[in-house]
């Protein structure tokens, strides 16, 4: 029995004239991700992408797992494909639905006929399919309001599709359809979650990270690279910019008032991100900031940091609690890596009593007291870029 996977659109279905642009992108994303699983043929018809395995030994389970993480897919349905002949469906129904129905108590059937040349209409199909299911699984009861399992039969142009399993997809927009942005990835719990949320809105998310050896360790960098690699699971192939930040931090320590250290450091990080955005075509900066979480995330501190940005700064976690953020972090599988105990550069030289209400005039004055611009240029030049490919594992740190 041949099985295929149907990917039903999420939000794309609401798009108007430019809908095909989004569809193309989603198809491309699915194709790219499924490369690691096997050979598939993708076609689209009637708001649905048909993912058709080309080999008999194809791992459908793995393909479904992979597709669950692709943004832009509203629902995933696994189906058996039959010729458009009702008796072919009923003959194989018991075998195909056994896993789904043998332990269920209630069910209902849904039928859809997009091929209007099919001799039975939807209510007729529904009635006869219901009878056939009851014949095959006499222990079942019918519940049209809250069934445990919904058995679906769709008569489409190129076949009859029988399924009992519909999985909610990742939703959102296809990655890349909204452009690309640069995520400031620290190694904590928050920033990967911020990246996830923006990837969901269709951004290609690449990462920027700042290192301060010897104040930070090689393991801290590896940890962040591992996070980056884990993020490819939902955001696809990712670029990783690693910025040498030691000299800037030392200059800040030696030349600026201690209580402004953190806010100045954040500003300089943003300024470096500006340069890279401009150079490599990123349309926005993403951060994991959440209002009032730490001293650098108070409203006045955010104002000062934001003033350094030349691109829109997306802060998808701004209104979220740590508990909510942590929950998503666990769901997307970055939590365990995030809590590894390696220190990142944000805590190096951090003052005991940072200013929670910095004034922008004071911050600017402190910043202008030293020639940071040339240091920023140098840091950008010395920034190293790595690429993490979806489905590949190159960072080992357990």
């Amino acid at each position: 029995m041949k099985e295929i996977i149907l990917a039903k659109y999420g939000e794309i279905a609401l798009k108007g004239d430019n809908r095909s642009t989004f569809e193309d992108m989603l198809m491309r994303n699915i194709k790219r991700r499924l490369k690691a699983v096997g050979r598939f043929e993708l076609t689209r018809r009637q708001s649905t992408i048909y993912v058709n395995p080309l080999d008999d030994d194809c791992d459908i389970d793995r393909a479904v797992e992979c597709m669950k993480k692709i943004f832009g897919i509203g629902a995933i349905q696994r189906c058996a494909v039959f010729p458009k002949d009702f008796s072919a469906v009923t003959a194989n129904l018991k075998e195909y639905l056994n896993d789904a129905l043998s332990n269920a108590k209630t069910f209902k059937v849904e039928a859809k006929r997009s091929d209007k040349t099919f001799p039975m209409n939807s209510p007729m199909i529904q009635q006869q399919l219901g009878d056939a299911v009851l014949d095959a699984f006499p222990h079942l009861g019918v519940d049209v309001h809250e069934p445990e399992v919904t058995v679906r039969l769709e008569i489409r142009d190129n076949g009859a599709y029988l399924s009992a399993l519909r999985i909610i997809g990742a939703g959102g927009m296809p990655v890349g359809s909204s452009g690309k942005a640069l995520l400031m990835l620290s190694g904590g719990i928050d920033s990967p979650v911020a990246g996830y949320m923006m990837a969901k809105r269709g951004l290609t998310v690449d990462c920027i990270h700042y290192i301060s050896p010897p104040y930070t360790s090689e393991r801290a960098q590896l940890k962040v690279e591992k996070l980056c690699e884990e993020m490819t699971g939902f955001s696809g192939d990712t670029r990783f910019y690693c910025v040498p930040f030691t000299e800037i931090q030392e200059a800040l320590r030696d030349n600026c008032p201690e209580e402004y250290f953190t806010v100045l450091m954040r500003r300089l990080m943003v300024k470096i991100a500006n340069k890279i955005c401009g150079r490599d075509g990123y349309g926005a900066i993403i951060t994991g900031e959440s209002l009032a979480q730490v001293a650098s995330q108070t409203l006045p501190a955010l104002y000062c940091t934001n003033a350094a940005a030349e691109f829109p700064v997306f802060r998808p976690l701004i209104g979220m609690d740590k508990i909510e953020i942590t929950e998503i972090s666990r769901k997307i599988g970055t939590y365990e890596t995030s809590i590894m105990p390696y220190e990142d550069c944000c805590t190096v030289f951090s003052p005991k009593h940072p200013r929670t209400h910095p004034k922008i005039e004071d911050v600017l004055a402190a910043e202008q007291s030293y020639d940071f611009d040339s240091m920023i240029e140098e840091a950008v030049t010395k920034t190293e870029v790595k690429r993490f490919k979806y489905g590949e594992r190159t960072v080992f740190l357990e």
Binding site: P213, P214, Y215, P341
Partner: protein, 372 residues
């Protein structure tokens, strides 16, 4: 590369590497096999045991008893403590005292904690609390003490206990007290004695994955691993003949001497004394191969990574605690602040004064850069 982290692990010596390769090529037989190849392996095992018994005593008279090979000192310590527990667990309600130190490795300390949860009365002595630590250990033993477990040489500071004396005195006070010695850092450096002694291969230029437990003649323990009955039923599992051969070669080739280590330590202390704000955590009662000191104002991890930039490898406190704060240094009376800045340098026979020089130069540079 300047490797000064020999208390964490050592580089396998050429003799060890040759012996391992040779055993893999020629003596790969299963020691339980009855044919000649198996007999070869059996002989390697038997010879290594003899070598170990001599090496353990540190004198001309070998210790008497049995050796079992383990995967390392963690297994040796677990086997020693859990394997001998059956001797005292149900002895009587009164006999419920265990004496140990506050500076043990987690593979000892965590098992003692289990005994404590089972209702045993634990005396944990810290070096900072007594002028004569060995005497205070002996004094803590009474007629109800079932077990004394003490490490011969501390891994973080090099602090050493006169183990043969301790063993003799404890047995005089209570012959029934089982004496276990974790001798991972003391092996080949100080004379040893005890009812149960744990040692490890990779601290003496052998490979990781091999260790041993000495069991005094007349002492009985239960195995941790049951199975094919190898090693007199005390440690089932096919003996790793290659690693055992390497272990023997490393013991025989061991070159570290007290004199050499003392020279290095004295030179290091001399250079450190010229720097400001250094605390020395390894005092006179410590072996010279380990020097623990605090560079105040520079957190250990930063110092470690800064030295790493110059390809100089040292450790912060104990490598086993992976960045967690060392409770052990506290037991030596080191303040929390100093413990945060503690660096452990540990020598092997191949280290030189020039390497100590390079280390100190880099420390000075780091201080200049990091201290404000």
């Amino acid at each position: 590369m300047i490797y000064l982290d020999n208390a964490a692990t050592t580089k396998p010596c050429p003799e060890c590497r040759t012996a391992v390769a040779r055993a893999m090529e020629n003596s790969f037989g299963n020691a339980s096999s009855l044919h000649g190849l198996g007999t070869d392996s059996l002989q390697i095992i038997s010879r290594t045991k003899r070598t170990l018994l001599s090496a353990l005593s540190g004198t001309k008279t070998p210790l008497e008893g049995e050796i079992i090979f383990t995967s390392g000192a963690t297994e040796s310590n677990n086997t020693a403590l859990l394997g001998s527990a059956h001797r005292f667990l149900h002895r009587s309600n009164k006999s419920n005292k265990i004496v140990t130190t506050a500076i043990e490795h987690p593979s000892v300390a965590k098992n003692i904690l289990r005994f404590e949860e089972d209702g045993y009365e634990i005396t944990r002595l810290a070096p900072k609390d007594s002028a004569d630590f060995v005497e205070s250990l002996v004094n803590a033993v009474d007629e109800n003490t079932v077990l004394l477990s003490a490490m011969a040489v501390n891994n973080e500071t090099g602090f050493a206990i006169d183990i043969p004396y301790l063993y003799k005195e404890v047995k005089r006070k209570n012959p029934k007290t089982i004496v276990h010695v974790d001798a991972v850092q003391g092996f080949l450096k100080v004379p040893l004695d005890g009812d149960l002694i744990s040692v490890s291969g990779h601290k003496v230029h052998s490979t990781k994955g091999i260790g041993a437990l000495y069991i005094k003649k007349g002492e009985h323990i239960l195995p941790l691993l049951s199975g094919g009955g190898q090693q007199h039923n005390l440690r089932s599992g096919t003996e790793p003949i290659e690693l055992i051969a390497g272990f023997e070669a490393a013991i025989k080739a061991y070159k570290g001497t007290h004199e050499h280590f003392s020279e290095l330590k004295n030179y290091l202390l001399e250079r450190l004394s010229k720097m400001n704000d250094i605390g020395i955590n390894s005092k006179e009662d410590c072996l010279p191969n380990i020097v623990n000191f605090s560079v105040r104002g520079v957190r250990s991890e930063i110092m470690l990574h800064s030295l790493e930039e110059g390809e100089i490898y040292v450790s912060n406190g104990s490598a086993c605690s992976k960045g967690k704060k060392s409770e052990v240094l506290t037991a030596f009376g080191v303040s929390d602040k100093d413990a945060d800045c503690a660096v452990r340098v540990s020598f092997c026979a191949e280290n030189t004064a020039a390497e100590v020089d390079a280390l100190c130069n880099k420390i000075e540079k780091t201080i200049e850069r990091v201290r404000r």
